[in-house]
Subunit: 370 residues, 2 copies
Amino acid sequence: MRARNPEVDQAIPAMDPEEAHQQAVRSGLVIQRSDPLNCETSIPALKAGTAMPTAHHYLRNHFRMPTLDSASWRLTVAGLVEHPLTLSLGDLQGMPSQTLDVTLECAGNGRSTLRPPVEGEPWGLGAVSTAEWTGVSLSEVLNRAGVKPTATEVIFRGADGGTVGGHSGITRFERSLTLDEVRDFPPLLAFAMNAETLPVEHGFPLRLVVPRWYGVASVKWLTEIDVTDVTFRGYFQHERYFYEWDDDRRPREPVTVQRVRALITEPKPDQELERGDLSLRGLAWSGAAPIARVEVSAAGGPWEDAHLEGQPTRDSWQWWEMTIRAEHPGAVTFRVRATDAAGRTQPEQPEWNRLGYGANAIQEVTVRVR
Amino acid sequence: MRARNPEVDQAIPAMDPEEAHQQAVRSGLVIQRSDPLNCETSIPALKAGTAMPTAHHYLRNHFRMPTLDSASWRLTVAGLVEHPLTLSLGDLQGMPSQTLDVTLECAGNGRSTLRPPVEGEPWGLGAVSTAEWTGVSLSEVLNRAGVKPTATEVIFRGADGGTVGGHSGITRFERSLTLDEVRDFPPLLAFAMNAETLPVEHGFPLRLVVPRWYGVASVKWLTEIDVTDVTFRGYFQHERYFYEWDDDRRPREPVTVQRVRALITEPKPDQELERGDLSLRGLAWSGAAPIARVEVSAAGGPWEDAHLEGQPTRDSWQWWEMTIRAEHPGAVTFRVRATDAAGRTQPEQPEWNRLGYGANAIQEVTVRVR
């Protein structure tokens, strides 16, 4: 609805009403009046509890963050396709789009819990976040290009690059997915995050978002899609992001979907709490299947079911909560364990592996009861 | 922790590492490595479920949105103070700051439910949102200025202005709070929203955020604070934002704190659902006191208590949920009603008033069971 402009104080520089209006449209706001701009949020946007504010999303970079010029940027789709494509950001924004809440987690999340310690970023438990991503489904673009019958996988190339150990020259950040993986975990070519233009830190102008996989698959600053019939062996596909054990009889395995994990977000470690009913709350997620159960053990006692909030989700985390009665003063340790619908659960101790991935052991939080 | 810079591809323009690092610090991220930047989110930031992504926050403007230059912008604190102040944005950012999750709601939210209809933005139920606001407490600034003993209230002036009915010339957006109100609802002078610089739409560079009050009190584009001993009678204080009835015996009352309200966010109106256990979920809030109870009535049946998620909150909304069994196909209407700890609850029908404020009647959502 457009209403008559009121007379405004021309001495005050103001945001261009048309630009402000377009921005609100892009954000999915319900516009009541364009000038001055008045918008309500949509009720579906109130499904908070899932997406976090953008500035709180974790960041994982292998190289410096490229600042790409969206006017000259292009996405090329080449290799084993009938119609190689060169797409501008406008081309992509003009295609049918989808919006998904997706939890991304760094494969190294929890690495600092491993003993003996391993190299790599010493992540605590915070290398995980959820955002609302908007873009075009990868399959939409692949269908337009026409994947040839002999193709088996798709390589995604980011604009970021630099030197890596054991290789001369510049290595670009590149990952691949097989066509089966593309079908089972439909990726998004995302140009918006939390209803705003993708920030540089999260891959402007385009990021591949692969739901339920560890974040490494979600290539930022995407510039090239290469369809191939050869198993890709790039550095970040083959020399990193593998589970490797110090046991010659156990073959290495690639890092793929997120392992099941529950986190305690309240109370905080070492928090002081009054005796009586204590409220525990947190998150749980798994790449393999929706969360089926979250259990809490207090002070070494039996595992008891926590309450799962809302409906089971596929691509994003879920809240759980529980009330526990603390009768006596002193330190109390809570442990939390998630199990997914595929029957996967968390180990008592993190499973050590040479590069420190998938460290999803049961979390402990100790509080002090007064 | 600063680690050695890797060698990067100099052909790719990259975000300045120092700038990227500073931005992450401001966002409260836990920095694992500065170059390339690697940050985890903090566990407290995972308290999602409260703040929404910025782009989904509702917008209410009375005039065009001023685009102020933060370099020349100043906040003046004058009137009945010992030491008049002129503060730059840097001055404010250098003071002790706080971060609060605050639910803001437009006093006209739900206006479109009133019969007979009234003038004003015809808001549905979406003129409400929650964000995380960071800034300096108003009392910190007033203490530095030294409020004189004769002072009784504080006027807040925004940079936005224009013509309003019945007045010649330009009217600025101005509101006041008494010193008692300032003490009971400690306002924040916010320069950040969801851990990012305040967007123009939300009052850049500074917005007053008054917790638990209807949003009108949270003056955007704040430029002046004026301490006075006279009851302020500005247009938006005295001619608008009053409850007025068509009953001469009932005196008009100012719009102040948010009335108690519950919203159903899931399922959506007219949604088709399978027979069996239906999951209902939504939000509830009240300016007067924390939410004590949310009840749901299905198909005209008795009120039954919903489950309140997490702990009672003071300044922000709270999630509730409930599972209801639907045995028979057909339309089912759900009604939801919140009650706060002060005993306030929602009326069956919105209380009509001339300007259409505080329309907090019980919400109904009808779904179709298959």
